[in-house]
Assembly symmetry: C2
Homo-oligomer: 714 residues x 2
């Protein structure tokens, strides 16, 4: 007996490697889907059997046609259905009767058009499921498999422009057909090529993860690109990505809807919710997925991953025939989080036959070499480039090709040097249309062509990110909640919790809190303060008071009993004048002078699970957008790296003579908070410690709050 | 008698509109400069007289040649000199003797190659100056003037690829010849065109501002692009930019060296110092100059300024044949500080014959229209696009052209709708190489072709910036220093000033300071506190103490006489234990509870003058890079706009229930500080108030310092 997964695979094979294809709705008119798909399939010499089906014709596009699929009388792997929306259900019945293995429903006006269409889609799906027919679509633009010469995809580039399918090892699965079309057009231009491309359509039956899973095991596929608008079955997607990583296939995802404007666009495009982006990004990055914002750039990076090995070190070497463009490119590096290589003394020495001293450095300026000491040497170009490729501080090279003489020869040499030294060598076009022959030269060498400096540097940023990626945070066992925490949370009311309760939770989780104690009168406050040691802080505890400071409910730096007593009376007095406030006493806490502050929070995303959120402390965290998001639980190493990644990190690292924070300790706190988030899951939708006060190795939560939802959110 | 400026103009006319050109070093070999320049000049049908000069040939490239320039015996406007570096001086003597009006020295190995070359350059220049010959170069790649059919520029695109000069109204002046070459190649590709292009070389005589000034008055030039690496004569450049604005010619500048990496590259390229970038940027922006980071993008924006009027409102309408690309484009808008337009109810109504309800919004999705209710209407495309162009909330339109049917017709219609409605309509290529005919169609219409979505959105960002630009900050009279400030500054020691002195300066400038008074003993402190009113703060005043807080020298929130007395004793005691500290007393200040904080500073740049610097208060200002820089003096309006431009501004604008800051008051303080910076100029290289405490309309400088340099810096 075959499993559901095996059935799915067999269905996908019938779609991507069919021995025979029937066209229900085949047409002579290539302006119609049933015409253009048949045309493009034959254009690229598909070797399998083709059965046009059309009740009104005996021949279509010169092929014998059948009046119904039932009349074909041969095994049919794939039926392409492109007829009126109301006829599709019957056609699926006919396919079932004819023993068809898979169906591609091109017809639109299904779920994407509203409730009526959705009902029709359900009925078609029911027929297919009943008959065990794997279905792609409806409302899809088709698929191609370059190694089978099978182009069954309405791509303008394939239909009207290309003489061959761009062949390579990139597998593409896309929720948008036109995006696949744009990637195909670009592939032909930049020298990228595909194993298979899939336009998913409405994903009524087969969905993105089914094809993704298939491509991980497809020997013809070396790198996988996904374009998605909504992310359903996220955990499955991430699990497949882990499999891809295990077999060494990079995964790239472009997801539309990362901003509110894009989310609106997605909703109108495919009637799907884009979902949260930051949490999606954090989960994907943890798995080593290269998340992209542009599908065309995704293709360039995918091709670079096929054409080059990863750079061994971060330093970038910029080459140009133009000192000006080289300077502009050097300026641009930091915009892409890239750094230039610093040439060694030995390399400078090796450059000295070609360059005067001031030019024995990056960026490489061919103009300077051509007027330098070695200007008459026959090996001028190779001799002046080679030492830079060889320098151990250079990880990748990019040539900014402005108009100059001998561009083809330079492109060829540059590409060969990259291969010889095992370093990425990207040629970026800065000469617009006059580099057509350079493009041809590169494509002839199997090297990619980067249409602009911007695209080359974006690609290098991606390669550098992958170079630094050192695997996902190790999976950690999540221990059961302690008995104390179980008891504590059982007693919690619903909703946002006050400071005292929140600190109680944190203390049970092993976080140091400036807990203090509740004093119900001034004498008690003095007694508690004596126990804690001066100076102390008093904070009002009262129902109906939200902004403690604003109403005079916080008194800092109280240095003796008299000060504590006076402060208590003043707070009590202030509360008595506040309508609706019910005074319950004051928290007495030690006064903490923080050298720096951090915000440590958690959030639970119904789709993507629990996360740890780190940021600059205080109010600025929101405005400055200086945060790091990690899937929870999170290892000490991951937390430490995230803290180092904050722009405010220098404040914790001895900035302007401050004491260095105990980073180990901070990481342990983050780790514990993340563990708590994982343990409580949907029951704690959000929590934040803000600020966490840091003074060297003394780290204390000064204020905190969390929301409790005993039934869980989502 | 002619002025120097008139002489310069006449010299530039002789270079850009010569009636005759002599070539000293003319050659048959187009691999040599004297060959290729002669060849390219003739290729584009220059109509003036041409006199090749070569002592060894009687004919060059089929033209009669002269053995020396003296033998020509005809008036010579321009002599092109491309001979060995050591022969140039004599050639310049020959030019002088022959009455040549201007010389273009192509030869390199002058100042750019070191001290020896610099000396040679000086000697050549002396000869030219003596003879009244205007000189461009040495080490330049040439010039072109499209309206004179004069291409005297070693541009690979012109020499090898183009059949015509890209003609238009863009004037280019560049410190890099290869950058001009790249711009020419791009112009032919994207449909941009030039009036004149100038490669400056070493600027021994004629420099960037001379040509800039000329182009402002050149009727053939409508927009001016400058590429520069160093900025000399900055004030002159800005004055010329003001003239350009007055005559309605936009100015764009790309300046290399905005980062340390770029600065190193500039130094090795042209041996020039790139200078400060932020202050350069602030001065340029104030004058309405569009500062660019990429010369190729500069050309696109310049062309857009010729092809389109500025958008009337900010809203961007994204069009695409691909719902997916439309969604990605919508996501991208915020990366470019752009916002989508919000269609009116009337527009949605006008779209209803073509779109189902969910698609009656932006982004425009042609795929949705083509399967929508009006899919059979002959006016489908025009009818569904036109209402969007007409919507008053739409300021500019961009079509993301993925591969689709009928691309030419769409491009034409889209361009025409833009012209009809007076709104920019940018077609961005998202279909790579298969849009060659679309590009041709657009160029035929005189419309620009944007090679990518990125470049179209960068261009829209520039147009939007210009749309919002409402003129430079009005020039303000800088009043003389008051007698009090004169006396105060006369007494200042050199170097960094302490808090007390700094606040003294600010108080005299009309800024409220939490001045407090110096108490030399505890009794005095109590007496001062009584006068100020409780609570107060005590801060140590001592020589040799830099970090006041760290050594226990700051005591906050002192609420009565006992607390003040105790605090004074503790501070004095702490100072007594600190080696090298000489205790002078304590500042007694009112305790200020700030709702928010601001940093207000000044800096003086020897090249660009005095500036006002605004930023988030506290330490984060440096790490978060949230600052605004304004030339000083600065108007109230300019300061207010800069404050609103800070990312931390919401903290001052009622964020989370805070009191709103008195923005007028903040602006007045900024204005006064800027005035002080302008008055003191180079004598006050830097000053900062950090923090300026803000509580509603109470705004007080809590801490401040400045550096004094009685002789001025720079």
């Amino acid at each position: 007996m075959t499993t559901y997964a095996e059935q799915t695979r067999a269905g996908i094979r019938a779609i991507l490697k069919p021995h025979s294809v029937a066209f229900i709705g085949a047409s002579d008119d290539t302006a119609k889907w049933g015409g253009v798909l048949l045309h493009v399939l034959r254009k690229f010499k598909y070797a399998g059997a083709i059965y046009p089906v059309n009740p009104k014709s005996e021949a279509i596009q010169g092929l014998r046609a059948w009046r119904s699929i039932g009349e074909v009388g041969q095994p049919i792997d794939l039926a392409v259905i492109s007829i009126g929306v109301d006829a599709v259900e019957q056609a699926m019945h006919d396919c079932a009767a004819a023993g068809v293995r898979a169906a591609m429903v091109v017809t639109s006006q299904f779920a994407e058009s509203g409730a009526d269409g959705a009902a029709k889609q359900e009925r078609v799906l029911a027929v297919a499921r009943q008959a065990g027919i794997a279905m792609i679509g409806p409302n899809c633009m088709g698929v191609l498999n370059a190694n089978e010469n099978m182009a069954l995809l309405n791509s303008t580039a394939l239909v009207e422009y290309f003489d061959d399918i761009p062949r390579g090892r990139i597998g593409v699965v896309s929720q948008s057909g036109a995006v696949v079309g744009a990637m195909i057009a670009r592939a032909g231009f930049v020298g990228a090529g595909f194993s298979s491309c899939v336009s998913l359509g409405n994903q009524a039956d087969l969905e993105i993860c089914d094809f993704f899973d298939y491509l991980v095991d497809d020997p013809a596929t070396g790198v996988i690109c996904l374009y998605m608008e909504s992310a359903r079955s996220v955990e499955r997607m991430l699990a497949i990505a882990r499999r891809a990583r295990a077999v060494g296939k990079p995964v790239l995802i472009t997801k539309a809807g990362r901003t509110p404007d894009g989310q609106k666009a997605v909703a109108s495009h495919t009637a799907s919710m884009a979902g949260a982006y930051d949490t999606f990004l954090a989960r994907c990055r943890n798995e080593g997925i290269l998340v992209q914002t542009d599908a065309l750039q995704m293709l360039l990076t995918a091709q670079a991953l096929q054409a080059f090995s990863l750079p061994p070190v971060p330093g970038i070497a910029i080459f140009s025939g133009s000192g000006g463009q080289g300077a502009l490119g050097s300026d641009a590096l930091s915009d892409y989080d890239l750094v230039p290589g610093e040439l060694s003394a030995a390399t400078r020495q090796a450059l000295s036959p070609f360059f005067t001293e001031s030019n024995q450095q990056l960026p490489y300026d061919l103009g300077a070499a051509a007027s330098g000491p070695g200007r008459n040497r026959p090996d001028l170009i190779e001799g002046s480039m080679e030492p830079i490729f060889a320098d151990p501080a250079v990880g990748a090279c990019v040539y900014l090709m402005t108009p100059q003489g001998g561009m083809d020869g330079i492109a060829k040499l540059f590409t060969e040097l990259g291969r010889e030294h095992g370093k990425p060598a990207l040629l970026a076009n800065c000469a617009s249309g006059i580099t057509e022959h350079v493009r041809q030269t590169l494509l002839g060498l199997g090297a990619p062509f980067f249409p602009s400096q911007h695209e080359a540097l974006l690609t290098l940023r991606d390669l550098e990110w992958l170079r630094k990626y050192d695997g996902p945070d190790p999976v950690q066992e999540i221990p059961a909640l302690s008995a104390q925490l179980q008891a504590f949370t059982r007693a919690l009311p619903e909703g946002m919790q006050d400071e005292d309760t929140s600190k109680g939770l944190l203390a049970l989780a092993g976080i140091d809190v400036a807990a203090g104690e509740l004093a119900v009168d001034a004498d008690a406050a003095v007694s508690i303060a004596g126990g804690l040691g001066y100076p102390v802080v008093l904070k009002i505890v009262a129902d109906g008071v939200t902004h403690k400071s604003d109403m005079g409910g916080v008194r800092l730096d109280l240095r003796d009993a008299d000060a504590v007593r006076a402060a208590f009376m003043r707070i009590q007095h202030a509360a008595s004048k506040l309508a609706g406030a019910r005074f319950r006493g004051c928290l007495v806490q030690p006064m903490v002078q923080a050298e720096s502050e951090l915000m440590i929070g958690t959030l639970y995303d119904p789709e993507f699970g629990p996360f740890l959120l780190l940021g600059a402390g205080g109010t600025l965290v929101e405005l400055m957008d200086d945060t790091q998001l990690l899937p929870a639980p999170a290892s000490l190493k991951a937390v430490e790296r995230a803290i180092r990644g904050l722009r405010c990190y220098p404040l914790m690292d001895g900035y302007r003579g401050r004491a260095r924070a105990d980073l180990d300790k901070l990481a342990r706190i983050g780790h514990r908070v993340a563990l708590l988030a994982a343990q409580l899951g949907a029951r704690m939708p959000e929590m934040d410690i803000n600020p966490l006060a840091i003074q060297g190795n003394r780290v204390v939560a000064l204020d905190a709050r969390f929301r409790w939802c005993s039934q869980g959110v989502g």
